[in-house]
Subunit: 439 residues, 2 copies
């Protein structure tokens, strides 16, 4: 059957057999399908829809299009977390060493930032020397040695996804749940996991803005994980404001090391709260702890004892980075960076934050990228202690901008100011960080 | 607005503004849209649909993407016909000289055959030396001198269509009426016509098999022509069996010259019947004759007087061909060709003809092409006097195959035999050649 005959079936609203979905994914990988044929079929899938069976087959074929890692040489349970992306979303850097210190291996394959969202790999690269391009054997060796390793997607893992994602991004076919599920799950299932905890964001800085859409995506991913025999749970978490204090790359690593060093008061710290929630769920699903409370207690003890920090330090050493950043996180902050205070224009209570605008503004000054091949400036960023529900005076500090020069500051400062809605409103509900748990 | 933002509007079922359709067509022509973006939008158009306004704008933008010919230096009315394609469909070669001899200029831009259908350019090239690649100035000069000229689509005429058609062919987005209309009409309207008569085929050898679909396409094209101030009419004609006697290239030109020479009895000859119908309608729309009957009489007189033949002869000379084929049409038949008789397997009445199969079989022995860049063998073909409703004996001749060798004959002969359904049925209705007229 020619590509156009397969396309015609979905064009007319038909269901594609497992064999035909296999032919499509093969054609993507071996280049026997032209890009314009792939994008035509993907558009037809987007509009006509994919059945549960078609979606599941797509995941399986995309997964099987590449290498599936096998960590059976490691006796510990294997777990990972995946976030759908947000602003200031840095929990991987805390969760991986923390969960590893609790006896669960974390073979984490991460991505780079795109658009308003940061990426774990970019953040890690702000640690001098840190190598995120591990070979499969290095990846295995470091997971064995440190309990976790963090690397980028190799060409061997779900190669169909790499091609499909690039085409979807250019053809307005990203926001369709079965395609999102296939993209995320084909990569995550290739990690050879026992446990997967998903952090599905909702709010002004998330891809799925509405909680309803986020929950639908979460349910689809959990169902897929379960069908592939991976214990899967999803946490719907708030992205109506940046997570934690810092947004950027080096500054986010700085925040994580401060938390791992137990130098930030956990009670008022969303980065820690969410990291703890996700870590504890990973430990329970991995049968390391029988309930969430004891899992949380174990995590807290690993922070207090310094074991989680020690894991991170050991990992940095294994991945060729400078481990002294763990002893002196200020080393991560570039002395050539200028700090500019962003002031509120009027008095009142912060009622909403345009998180997307903050992410885009940080991206624009070099902290992120618009196109996949752009380089980024790890040192720039933004920090704020102000959260929705906080009261601020006119002229009070909304946050601080980390910039290369005054010119950068003056070009984006107004966007940070206007990202914060300040109103005379007296009683605004602070958004819950954890909205829902699915699975 | 980026291509993906425009694609997203149609993906979600929205209407595209004139400006955005213009951006799309510009992007196709200046290559700022990637092929995969074009095909994604075209698929979204196919599934979500185009409104009448969107379709009209698409025609206008595609038309304006290239050169629009201006024959105002010629005082005569300008008319053309266009056929949606079929098997043995050779009327252009009769209509152009005939209508020109009646005082209407015919600046005909034609295409090549693809799949089961033949193309006027391929047929003309079986006349030794005939040049179908005229420059714009040559095209003008020959229309001026002979009243008609026949050339291929230049890169300057509706360039967006060339790119779009190739992509549609490879992505299963051909059979959608507004896209078909845009493709045909953007080319035909570029000819600077006063009158356009469309021959929309229906039946087993047509692109639009059902009469209902053919009528819908006809209505859409007529409405478009009228909106662009071209007097337009469509004839729905039968393609449930090959038109006339011959299928091929040289053999079809042979048939046409025999008709122009008045050597074929017109009464029983569908090629002549359809050519006469289309020609007469062109003359009436062009106000050369006031009614169809007098227009038909004028056409018949131009055949009988030899004026139509003389026009064709003059045109062949102008387009560098050998005009002596008009005096001796047998010159067109290659002496190296073997003629093989195709016999009926059983006695009965021909109840149906698989015209698509006949077209494909002729194509397969070299008479047509599967891909646009293939060369063809002008000499091969098929001839049959047998029409639906005719009675045949077992072993009686269904037709004659014109082949290069016995091997070709034995490989395709069975397909010609089985293309004819022969049944004991006594009373089968012969299909009407002219089914309907729209406009």
């Amino acid at each position: 059957m020619r590509p156009q005959d397969i396309i015609a079936i979905k064009r007319d609203g038909g269901e594609l057999s497992d064999e035909l979905i296999g032919k499509f994914v093969d054609g993507v990988c071996d280049k026997s399908w032209a890009d314009y044929q792939i994008s035509a079929l993907v558009m037809a899938m987007f509009i006509r829809g994919l059945s549960t069976r078609e979606g599941e087959t797509l995941v399986r074929e995309m997964l099987n299009s590449g290498e599936i890692l096998d960590f059976s040489e490691i006796a510990m349970p294997k777990a990972d977390k995946h976030s759908t992306g947000g602003v200031g979303d840095k929990t991987s850097l805390i969760i991986a060493p923390l969960v590893a210190s609790c006896g669960v291996a974390v073979p984490m394959v991460s991505g780079r930032g795109l658009g308003h969202t940061g990426g774990t790999l970019d953040k890690l690269e702000s640690i001098p020397g840190y190598n995120v391009r591990l070979s499969t054997s290095e990846f295995h060796a470091i997971v064995g040695k440190c309990g976790f390793a963090m690397t980028g997607q190799t060409a061997e893992i779900a190669p169909a996804d790499k091609k499909l994602y690039a085409l979807r991004d250019a053809t307005a076919t990203v926001p369709y749940i079965p395609l999102i599920v296939a993209s995320i799950m084909s990569k995550k299932l290739a990690e050879g996991l026992d446990v997967l905890v998903l952090d599905v964001k909702t709010g002004s800085g998330a891809f799925m803005e509405s909680e309803k859409d986020a929950a639908e995506l979460a349910r689809a991913m959990v169902a897929t994980g379960e069908r592939f025999n991976v214990k899967t749970q999803a946490v719907i978490s708030d992205m109506s404001q940046p997570l934690g204090k810092y947004v950027g790359n080096a500054v986010e690593v700085y925040e994580c090391i401060k938390i791992l060093r137990n130098e930030i008061e956990p009670a008022a710290e969303p980065t820690w709260e969410l990291s703890l929630e996700l870590s504890a769920r990973m430990l329970v699903l991995a049968d390391v702890e029988s309930d969430l409370d004891s899992a949380r207690q174990l995590c807290v003890s690993k922070i207090k004892s310094g074991e989680a920090l020690e894991r991170f330090c050991r990992n940095i050493e294994c991945q060729s980075g400078d481990p002294t950043v763990c002893d002196d996180p200020d080393k991560l902050l570039d002395p050539n960076i200028t700090t500019i205070s962003i002031k509120a224009g009027k008095e009142g209570v912060v009622t909403a934050v345009d998180t997307l605008a903050i992410g885009n503004a940080v991206s624009e000054i070099g902290g992120g990228r618009v196109k996949a091949d752009e380089t980024i400036d790890h040192a720039v960023g933004f920090a704020s202690d102000i959260k929705i529900g906080d009261r601020i005076d006119a002229g009070g500090e909304l946050g601080r901008l980390y910039v290369r020069n005054e010119e950068q500051a003056s070009s984006v400062s107004p966007r940070f100011v206007s990202a914060y809605s300040v109103d005379a409103c007296l009683d605004i509900k602070r958004p819950d960080l954890i909205r829902n748990v699915i699975g």
